[in-house]
Symmetry: C2
Subunit: 126 residues, 2 copies
DNA sequence: TGACAAGTACGAAAGCCTTCGTATTTTGGC
DNA sequence: GCCAAAATACGAAGGCTTTCGTACTTGTCA
């Protein structure tokens, strides 16, 4: 099961965006993006834990290790979404979609984008 | 911020479905619905904690207290959803909706339901 | 009225997440 | 070859969630 915690998601976010990165890369990226930064060794520790959990892969050939996401963004999002569906929407994806749609701020262009996706899926029960 | 934990959500689920309930009611309902049950005092403790957090309201007039959800299902779902949007979808509700739509198993009738909702919101940027 | 059943209160333990400090290792340059 | 700088390893603390045992309270009814 792929269900990264909050801090793990933040790190994965960096890896998805930057590609394979060192601890320092991740640390710097997060410091740039956040109000208050977290210690260098915190990032290191998290990456070690994430390596154990197989959320990232570590390339230790060089002295300075390079970490890469081992799970894709899309897959992770899918898992988190399905987890939420189970926990809070009685297992109904439809309920989640409807709720999301009705409380989201969408521009006409975005609504159109959704409509196109619906069209593609017309009559397809995948 | 309304962000019930897992166990809390399970209890809220019972309260939303049954209405105001005693500890025993909740305990029985969960035992019926679950593979393996949790102790009576666990439910009691959780309800006490949830009372502190203002997730439920306690009516202590009778000897046997009656608990009622203090947050609505829709509101809770909205909060959880927006939390997930922030944590995993870069703040984009649209991304979440698209992801949910593309990985959900929807029947044509359900797709139609979504389409109707879209029609209602046409040109409305709420 | 007194004992028992049912309810409530509360402390504590186990497990996870996040954080960091400290110790150890490595390496590049002088 | 040696040292300082940078990196890694590791333990541990604090906080939160979930669980439960035990102690205390209260009402009922024989």
């Amino acid at each position: 099961m792929i269900r990264p915690t909050n801090a793990e998601l933040a790190i994965l976010g960096v890896l998805w965006q930057r590609g394979p990165s060192t601890v320092r890369d991740v640390h710097d990226a997060l410091r740039a993006a956040r109000r208050e930064a977290v210690g260098y060794t915190t990032i290191l520790k998290l990456l070690q834990i994430m390596t154990d959990k197989r959320l990232v892969k570590r390339d230790a050939r060089a002295r300075t290790n390079v970490y890469a996401a081992a799970v894709s963004e899309a897959t992770t999002r899918r898992h988190l979404l399905s987890d939420l569906v189970d926990r809070a929407f009685g297992g109904s994806s439809l309920a989640l979609v409807l709720q999301a749609l009705s409380s989201t701020r969408a521009t006409p262009a975005e609504l159109e984008q959704i409509r196109r996706l619906l069209d593609e899926r017309k009559g397809d029960s995948r």
